[in-house]
C-alpha cells in the first residue's frame, strides 16, 4: 500500500466499542463518559494533551484500569467475557523493553506469542512467528542481543514486534512514536502500513499525528476526559491547534544526531 491505505468499510462491525465509559484514578475522575468506536480495518488516532485521559482510555480497553460505569466491547464481546486475546496486539507506553534482568530480543518478543501457546509451550511454528515479527521491525540481526544494548527507537521496535508475534487483527498502541529516532519512525510507519494493508484494525494513542498521518482514517480528540472531536484527522488546522497542545516534541529533527534518540521523552 503505497498511497497510505486509507480504506475501510463504514458500517463494518466494530472491533472496539466504548459507550459512556467513566474511570477514576485514585478518586480523581479521568474519563467522564467517553464513546469510542474502532471499526474493522480502520486506523483511529486518539489525540489530546497530557492528562486528557487518552492512555487511561486505552488501559480501560485492555482491563488494566477498572471502569466505574459504561460498556466496553472487544470484537462484539463484553470485555469481561473476552478471552480471545491472541486477536489483540498491545504496545504499552514504555521507554524501554528491558526489565531488571538481561533478556534478548527473542526472549522479550516470545512473550507476545504466549496468547497462542498452550501452557506456555512454544512450538516450532511459534518460534518462526517470533522470528518473523522481529524481522518485520528490521531487528533480525539483533535477535540474540540483549535489549539493554539497543537504542530507544529499537526498544520501541521490540515492543511492537512483541505485539505482532501473535499475528493480531487489532493493534492497540500507546504512544508508539515517543522517543523514537527517525530511522525507527520510518520502520514503524512501514510496519504499520503493512499491517493495515493486510486488514488489521489499529487504535493509536498519539501526541501528534507525525509520520503516521497518511495512515489515519479518523481522529478522536480528548480533553479533560471528554471527547472533543471525532472525525477526520485535524489536518487543516495542524496538530498545533489541538486543545491544550503544549509543544513537546519528542522526535529528533531531520538533521539531528541519531545519538540524541537515547534521550527518552
Amino acid at each position: 500500500m503505497k498511497d497510505g491505505g486509507t480504506r475501510y468499510e463504514p458500517g463494518a462491525s466494530p472491533v472496539i466499542s466504548l459507550r459512556g465509559v467513566t474511570a477514576e484514578l485514585g478518586s480523581r475522575p479521568v474519563l467522564r463518559g467517553i464513546d469510542l468506536t474502532v471499526n474493522r480495518g480502520e486506523v483511529v488516532a486518539l489525540l489530546g494533551a497530557n492528562g486528557s485521559g487518552k492512555s487511561t482510555a486505552v488501559r480501560t480497553v485492555i482491563g488494566q484500569v477498572p471502569v466505574t460505569s459504561g460498556e466496553i466491547e472487544l470484537f462484539g464481546t463484553p470485555r469481561r467475557r473476552f478471552r480471545d486475546w491472541s486477536r489483540v496486539g498491545y504496545v504499552p507506553q514504555r521507554t524501554t523493553a528491558a526489565g531488571g534482568v538481561p533478556a534478548t530480543v527473542t526472549e522479550v518478543v516470545s512473550s507476545g506469542r504466549l496468547s497462542r501457546a498452550r501452557f506456555g509451550v512454544l512450538r516450532r511454528a511459534d518460534r518462526e512467528a517470533v522470528q518473523r515479527a522481529i524481522a518485520l521491525v528490521g531487528l533480525a540481526d539483533r535477535a540474540k542481543d540483549s535489549v539493554n544494548a539497543l537504542s530507544g527507537g529499537q526498544h520501541q521496535r521490540v515492543l511492537i514486534a512483541r505485539a505482532l508475534a501473535a499475528g493480531p487483527e487489532l493493534l492497540i498502541m500507546d504512544e508508539p512514536m515517543a522517543g523514537v529516532d527517525l530511522a525507527s519512525q520510518e520502520v514503524l510507519a512501514e510496519t504499520l502500513r503493512e499491517q493495515v494493508a493486510q486488514g488489521a484494525s489499529v487504535l493509536l494513542v498519539l501526541h501528534e499525528l507525525g509520520p503516521l498521518e497518511p495512515l489515519i482514517n479518523r481522529a478522536v480528540v480528548l480533553r479533560d476526559g471528554c471527547v472533543m472531536h471525532d472525525g477526520p484527522p485535524p489536518q487543516a488546522l495542524g496538530q498545533h491547534a489541538l486543545p491544550g497542545h503544549d509543544h513537546v516534541h519528542p522526535h529528533a529533527a531531520h538533521d539531528a544526531e541519531p545519538i540524541r534518540t537515547g534521550l527518552l521523552s
Binding site: 485514585g26 534482568v101 538481561p102 533478556a103 534478548t104 512473550s111 504466549l114 496468547s115 542481543d145 539493554n148
Partner: protein, 304 residues
Amino acid sequence: MNLEILDYAFMQRALLAAVLVGITAPAVGIYLVQRRQALLGDGIGHVAMTGVGLGFLLSWSPVWMATAVSVVGAILMELIRWYGKTRGDIALAMLFYGGMAGGVMFINLAPGRSNANLTSYLFGSLSTVSEEDVTAICLLAAFVVLVTVGLRRQLFAVSQDEEFARVTGLPVRALNLLTAVTAAVTVTVAMRVVGLLLVSALMVVPVAAAQQLSRSFAATFAIAVAIGVSVTIGGTVTSYYQDVPPGATIVLLTIGVFILLTALATPLARRRARAAAQAAAQEAGDPAECAIPATRTPTGKVGV
C-alpha cells in the same frame, strides 16, 4: 580431596539442604529481581520469624509453621500491592517488623526455650538440620523448581511487563500470587542453612553476579543457579572445617563472586562495545554476519 566430611550423617543432610538452597534461592530470586522487588525475600524472611516462634510455642515443626506463616505474609504483601496505593510501603514495613517482633515474642513465651534457638534460624546452623527438616526441605524445593522452571515463560512475561502480560490472556494476579508464595516457600527452604536474615542475599546476589556476564534471561538463570550451588556447597564445607557460621560464610562468598565477576565483566563489556563499533563501521558490508559471532564469543568462554 578428603571426603571424610561425607561420613557424618549431619553433614550429608547439611550438604543436601545446601544444594537445594543453592538451586531454589536464585531460581526464585531472578523473577523478583526482574520485577524490581529484590527485597521481597527479606520481608518474607522477617515474617517467617513469627512462624518459627509459633512453631516453638505450639511444639510443632518450626519449618512447616514458618512456611505457613510466610505464605500468608507473602499473600498479604501481594494484596497490599494491589489495593494499598498510597501507603503501601508503610503497610509493608508494619508487616516486616510485626513479623520479627512476633517471632521474638512467641519464642520467649515458649516453655523452656530461649533466644539461642531463634539464633539458629536467624543465621543458619548446619548441625541442627534434622531428618524431618531435610524431608520438608526436599518437598518444598521440588515445588519451587517445578514452578520456576515449568512456568518460566509465564513468569518471565508477567515479571517483564505486567500490563502487556494481561493482554496475552495470562492470569496475571494468580501468577503474581504464585511468585510471592514460591518466594515464601524458598525462604523457609533456605532458613536452616543461611538463616532468615541472610536468605534474601542468596536470592538476589547470585542473579546480580550472573547479570555481569550474561545477555539473555536463560543464561542469567543458569549462571545464577550455578553460582548459588557453588557458594552454598563452598560455604557449608568451609564452615565444617573452619568452624565459622555457614550463613555468613555463604553470603560473603556470594558477594566475593559478585565482585570477581564485576571485575571480569568490565574488559568484557569494553570488548563487546568495540566489536559493536566495528560491526557498525562495516555496515556497508553484512552487519548480520559480523555482529553476532563477534559479540557471542566472550559469553561462550565464561558461560558455566
